[in-house]
Symmetry: D2
Subunit: 224 residues, 4 copies
């Protein structure tokens, strides 16, 4: 979306030498982050209606992304590559902390909101990671599962682009995993915020590309 990222910004990052492609690894893992009814709603609805059901919902953009995540999920399952589901665990009172101070409504999401969206729901043996903070690595044993699985790269999908996706991508990058973010398989509540966060990730932490481009590239990686 050239309309959102202005020329000055692009020119400056180019001049400073950011944004080189990272490429894929030999053993990718798929993170599907927070694709639960609390972020998609139980049906595709425009944003303003969607937040009536769950205040954390992103509305119909979520459903477009879910279709793309499904494509990636099918590919990963077919290749026998690891699929991991970091997700928001139902909140207990003692979880309030800084999050409850900043976004109080997030503490009161109805139980239904914590169910996985059925299109991408985990199968037996896929790895579940309840989490309480933005990054899928923070306060979870994600690293241990990645080491066990011998993963060298991560495809990060889900929600929200500016929150848990970005937090996880920054940590994955910091741990020296190769990171790919499919820009149409992540979603957020504002187009501006979504696009600028994709730009940041693409310049500094990850390869950002479409699901179709990523699927093509991943199909070329040999299965184990």
């Amino acid at each position: 979306m050239t309309e959102i990222i202005d020329d000055l910004t692009r020119e400056r990052y180019d001049a400073a030498g950011f944004g080189r492609p990272v490429g894929l690894g030999k053993r990718p893992g798929l993170l599907i982050i927070d694709v639960q009814y609390r972020t998609t709603g139980t049906e595709p609805r425009p944003f303003d209606e969607a937040i009536q059901e769950f205040t954390t919902s992103c509305g119909d953009v979520a459903w477009d992304a879910v279709g793309n995540i499904e494509r990636l999920l099918k590919l990963f399952r077919g290749k026998g590559w690891p699929v991991l589901y970091p997700y928001v665990a139902p909140k207990k009172a003692f979880d309030a902390g800084a999050l409850g101070a900043k976004v109080p409504g997030i503490m009161d999401i109805p139980d239904k909101g914590y169910e996985f969206h059925p299109a991408i729901a985990p199968l037996e043996g896929e790895i579940l990671l309840p989490k309480r903070h933005p990054s899928a690595f923070f306060g979870t044993p994600l690293l241990s599962y990645l080491v066990q699985a011998g993963v060298d790269s991560l495809v990060v999908t889900g929600c929200s682009t500016s929150g848990c996706v970005r937090g996880s991508a920054v940590d994955a990058f910091s741990y020296n995993y190769k990171v790919a973010v499919p820009n149409d398989a992540v979603y957020d509540r504002s187009p501006l915020v979504h696009e600028v966060n994709l730009f940041d990730m693409g310049q500094k932490y990850a390869d950002v590309l479409t699901t179709s481009e990523l699927v093509d590239a991943l199909e070329g990686v040999p299965a184990p």
Copy 2:
């Protein structure tokens, strides 16, 4: 800057109930992140000139921010509150990793670039934290120093707004510290990226306010 954050974005975050104020703690710590010549340049210069000296330089906006960091630093030193300096350590070949792949030029900054800007240089006894990744918490003993110092809140300043400042603010929030980000004491290479990252932090992770507002509020916190 209403020009950058559009109405749709503001309305949606308001409707979803984000962005409540967090407030200050009783025992704040000050993080001064990466305020080294490599991000400020050795003199205030426009961006396009500044990157000729160090490709990681942000140009003259850095010098405006440094003035504000000085004000905060003087206040913290006067109160006897902890001051910590997470900074970029000179790169060795084995540090390349994901960062060297994404931003190759960052591996070849001249030594002079790693010096602290003299206006905010650390005094004997202030805590130095060499780091290799965006967040000041990642791969460093920062948490141990904060526990030792009994800190309950953090003021995050320095550079870049979208990189190390944001990464550190997200982690500080995740650890349940109260976080304040003075919007004129952090800096970045693009106004768009700077503003959207401040918006994200203000909605989800931190109180974002001016240095003057923050200084006023902090002056009301009793010294130990």
Copy 3:
């Protein structure tokens, strides 16, 4: 137990200057680690019988320790200080990892084994931390809860002395918390291993003392 720690060992640690007392903080937290039927058995039984019920059981020494943990728990609840329960979560197949390789039987503990011992079972509002690795800090959000609670010191109780208690004490020490380990409120499957691990912790990481001594000292700390 002077019989287990030999004179040579004591003399060398004394000569090298280890083992100074750390003292208590102003705001202690209580960790009750893995005090579940899987380590105590559903009834007090000698070790050889106890492992017939759960291979991870420590036998009747566990029940002696549980009595002492109860005393500490009552004190902490009375003072209004935080109580946290790191516990072993039921194992899923994907949890096997290095642990399943080293101690295969640990993957097949019956469900009953994961229940908390009723004498110390958590009350509503006390903090539950499912964990998959020895240290209560590893792959859990324990740190975030401690920061939120403003804790500056930890009393570490439970099981096993050489495993999760020690791992948690080493990490708590590394984060600069003051650590106390009541030697009769932790338990293990071998007296030798129990005593040497207490010695190691007392020399390097924690104050090791009896529950009675610790209760006396803690009673002198003002409630919040």
Copy 4:
């Protein structure tokens, strides 16, 4: 040493099903921990003399271990496998923390003590990791280097068996790396403490074997 680990202890761990062998990975890394003059002394001397030079010295047992570490180091360099040096960084006043409280003398080791033992000193390109806490993973970017190097297993050598070696082995195990500890390439200040910590590691976290056994096994792993 059957004299130190008593029959009761062995029988109980056997009965409970601990201590199964883990085996080697395909891509091992070598950790050489704290093999600096501060733990070996500048010359091989008996313990009581050695601590006159540096209170943290382990005496002549260190020099025996260094010879075995050299054998492993030569093998790793020959195979082109990663070698990493977690080491104790010279202490600044702000590092005192819990360690300075517990072992005050550790804050005042002369500079000479921080030099690497020349027999195992790092070559250009080998990875240096200054650390401030027992585990080589704690507050350091070790994980990021291991991910970058594609390591799936670790050989842990150096000092002390009960301190930094054990702390690092527990964390490596928790991250699901396969861990091997050569029992004659690690050292400590007391035979009792050394042996019991080797026993603990062998039962729960690592394969413990002699350097000769480990060298034989590693020679069978294909170089990259």
